[in-house]
Symmetry: C3
């Protein structure tokens, strides 16, 4: 007999560990979409624990969704199901898929988002979701697969179904790639990939890129209307209102202002170029 | 002995099915109101599972709240309690009510919202909430019945109390009606009732209206700055950037743009007229 | 053997009372921050019940966060952990603290927020969080203590750890004070501290201040572009579109418009002065 995953708990007395699903969509917070999807999921697994990552991904911004979800996954326990529905191709021939990688599960349309989460790594398994028995209805609404297909399958996986049960193994899935920064002897050329709620400007220059060339930790950083020098460890290393570069919590170089909104104050936008220029030493 | 509803579970080992309440309000997400109401509910029933539908209904927009909640209910299991607090009359003589219909429960002020959910059907039971023993305090704050009255009653219903226990049966409750489209031999005249997060424009022309006259599936649809022909099945049937009419996930005609924001691109507003005109065949 | 708090339940059959944490931050709803913090908390305590107060505190607005959380706490059961992370000093020498007061727990940076919740009362205990064994990692990210330190400690407290286990007792913590209104024989001089989602303008004039001088209940109230007379009990005491003063659900004087947005209609801002002037009687 196969026990459902959430009975296997470290607690001595029967406190159940509820099956865990995170939700990332562009559905917004004013329409019926998120709650309808959650209802369909609770019909499958009433004990489900659903954690919203964000529903405010820019409409149909697959990279934006992947950018946020990629930072979230490492904070979650193995076995978590990550449901990500940003689905410009809903109703078309794009396939619904699910996957396992690093002990986590992914469910969503085959739109390239999975490959962005993997960053070049191989998934442990990918399946095409072709078993309507695990859907809300055999004929999902052609404009709302989140409620009728992806949500229910995510709930089934969270409550212990296997990938083989809910789909058919495949080798193929859409490939998208993060734009990596360019490096040479004189510096690193990247760009701003995300402006957060505080106006901090997250770049595509990763910790690895910085650590490969220690000179980058003391480089001049040209971005927006400012030039800052060196990579700081905390915002408070510079006076209030002053700009700085810092290695952010997502392990990428960020440009911020201590106590201020860097994007506004320094005229930085998503897509703005960021140049690290090494000095003559 | 009456067992609480959430002990009755299909699971073999004691995983409790938590009592389920959905929440629809105009309280917003920046004030203390939603969390205060949830605290009052958890005081009644600590195992409560609360799912937010939306708290961003336009202030005091009863029809807007009903429009969203009406789409959500079919995705939820029987026995779910739907708490809907949009309450322009708070503190006045308007009565607090609860009801059962189609196996679901409704709790909220008697402002017409219940009748909009029913769409002409008879509820199984309606009660006036006149038993302060089930409220947070005998004297609810005159400006915040959500925390002091509606929330606690919803939690009591979810955890197994009956309508008769928490209130007194009544026959009367406020009646509001959806504005239905006009149909004749030449076409259908409706309007836009909701613009969703993607800019899709949902009309009041339902699947039933369309199916009653098959010619409407090939009609010309005049709306905003465009004319589209025929009802599509998926967005991707037209090229990127092109407008289309489609039967949406809420079973009403919607006007969208493949990959774009129809409301902005086609100058369509909530309330904009939508005309389906049959051709000469 | 110490039982975890959530096994101690009033329910007869083993329905666990889940440990309860409320969350108040300025992290917003579009970034990875809230979900990453929740993941780190669920790693500590998978049965955790997390209720969002708001994540839309204005960036680094400690008083704004305290204003909202102060209204929420009384609605929650004893033993609830209130996690409040508004952290302009993250990465600096400001200390991480936790406290117990009135049977509730507080966790957050030592930025004065705790003292605003206490309003002059003494906490039962305050500790400095200096035990990395209860953190996500011994070296928390210098820009994101919410995920790496505060969240995990809040989860440990909710699941039954004591303050002495997670920290070291201290007497000192940052003191901030609410600006109280000035009263004399002629009236009360306060100001608007919060505009809510409905445009209601909450002042710093409390029920106690009003009740100390019963003349204030009939005073003229000067605010923005209007003068209203007397304190009402419900919005509907005045006609639609008319302004009024009312004792709000937070036990402070509010200025509103029946069915309208007072802030917009009456040109009132956060910080606008509010004068109660007693008449000659």
């Amino acid at each position: 007999m196969r026990l459902k995953r959430f009975y296997i708990s470290a607690s001595p007395l029967c406190a159940p560990v509820r099956p865990l699903v995170t939700l990332t969509t562009d559905f917004g917070l004013t329409d019926a979409y998120v709650a309808a999807m959650k209802g369909a999921m609770l019909q499958v697994e009433p004990a489900l624990n659903m954690v919203d990552v964000t529903h405010q991904v820019e409409p149909q911004d697959i990279m934006g969704a992947a950018f946020v979800l990629r930072q979230v996954i490492p904070a979650y326990p193995e076995g978590t199901v990550h449901l990500a529905v940003v689905d410009p191709g809903v109703g078309s021939a794009r396939l619904p898929i699910a996957a396992r990688f690093g002990g986590h599960f992914f469910v969503g349309p085959d739109n390239g988002l999975l490959s962005l989460l993997l960053e070049g790594a191989e998934p442990e398994q990918v399946v095409v979701l072709d078993k309507p028995a695990f859907w809300r209805s055999e004929q999902p609404a052609r404009t709302f697969n989140g409620r009728d297909l992806f949500g229910p399958v995510a709930a089934h996986l969270a409550s212990g179904k296997t990938l083989e049960e809910v789909g058919t193994p495949t080798e193929k899935f859409q490939q998208l790639h993060w734009a990596h920064p360019l490096s040479d002897d004189e510096g690193v050329q990247g760009f701003v990939v995300h402006i957060d709620r505080f106006g901090n400007c997250v770049t595509n220059i990763s910790r690895e890129v910085l650590e490969k060339n220690p000179r980058s930790l003391h480089a001049k950083c040209y971005v927006g209307s400012t030039i800052v020098e060196g990579v700081r460890k905390t915002y408070t290393e510079v006076p209030q209102g002053e700009p700085l570069a810092i290695l952010g919590s997502s392990n990428h170089l960020e440009v911020g202002v201590n106590g201020g909104d860097a994007a506004t104050l320094l005229t930085i936008h998503k897509g703005s170029p960021v140049s690290l220029v090494y000095g003559d030493e």
